[in-house]
Symmetry: D2
């Protein structure tokens, strides 16, 4: 597990993103193979029907997995990310995302993600691929 | 092509979504097999590096393709959506998304999407699947 | 865990598929939330470069995840499946695929898959969505 | 459009793949931004239900898009490919796949694919990303 101080540093970098601030995304845990983050549930992040917009959930996952891909390394850019929406995100204070490293190569990093609610129920799952800007 | 009035109706429904308002997404064109929408480029939608956050672009695509899937039909929910990020979204006033219908089935609707900038340059492409809440 | 007899039954159904026979895919483990299968490594399944063709690995995953989706239920058809190719599939006697259930809904079933070699090294990962032909 | 002779060369390289021979895949058209290939419909490529196995269709698409990605360039490996299965592949002599270039970067190449039957009906669509082995 990275020290809290390191997580603060990562959150400070993320806070320079207007969009990540707009979504109030924060990283909670981070090490070489695992990252966890969350964002609050709020009506301003919802669909007309009152559940979180899929694009919000995708944004959370892209940010958490991207932070894992970037961990102590080169800057990264998302190559491709797919998300499967299993259950509506409603009736929760926060939405959590856990990213796990599947492979960290010289050029490419692949992570899978799971999105859960306060009760730990699985809402969404996906896989993201990042490119490391190493040259 | 649906009449402007119809597009206004669709935009009115979308405006009930806090998130779609937050992103200032609007539908410009809509008929049975095609939809086009846009959102403004703004620092508040960007990454630390200054390009639009991938989650923003995904949100735009999910909204435009979802409107096409929903066209004159049952309510829909996104089953799965994948996005390939080809070029950074920078130096543009608006980001445009065009969705094309690939198949409209009884239960499932599939659309592909292309995201472009003011100059019409292709920035991203993806495919979304929706489930029609018909029962 | 399903009894061996049940697995034999599933393998008997799969053997009616010309393509599954061509690939020599067999199911090894199966219960409500988990399935495992394998196919042999062979030059006839390879790329010009000598590693297994990605389409072979995708076929194995589609078959194992599809068997899990089908488990004791209605017939299923694949809606969408994506695969991330992490490492070349070489130097192994068998290729294994493990599928885990993410959600079994009334209409849709989602599974993730991992492909490994004899040594248990992760080679590929992906997510598949199936539609249950219940009406 | 590449000359027929060039296509023969590409088909000769592909024929060194046991799996591509097993599927009888051939490239019909190829230039810098477009490729088209086909494989015959045959019971040995089918599901228990009698339609082509999704893994077969994926293999065809991976091969045709991979040939486009490789065109006059460095060797490529598939990073990720997703396929959406829209209609069953039945009642056709051949299955055709058309791949279109979305972006050819220094390291990454992205193509979309459409699979059709003899009548030109769209059966499947997908997107593939390849990595160019340039260093």
């Amino acid at each position: 597990m990275a020290e809290d101080k390191t997580i603060d540093n990562y959150n400070e970098v993320l806070s320079r993103s207007g969009f990540i601030k707009l979504l109030n995304i924060e990283i909670l845990e981070l090490n070489e193979t695992h990252a966890k983050g969350r964002m609050p549930f709020d009506a301003k992040y919802c669909n007309p029907g009152g559940s979180m917009h899929g694009g919000c959930l995708y944004s959370l996952a892209d940010t958490v997995a991207g932070t894992l891909a970037y961990f102590k390394g080169f800057d990264v850019t998302t190559v491709e990310g797919s998300m499967n929406f299993l259950e509506p995100a409603i009736n929760t204070e926060y939405i959590y995302c856990t990213a796990k490293l599947k492979r960290r190569g010289k050029h490419l990093v692949t992570c899978d993600v799971e999105i859960t609610n306060d009760a730990g129920k699985l809402l969404d799952c996906g896989i993201y691929t990042f490119f490391r800007m190493s040259d």
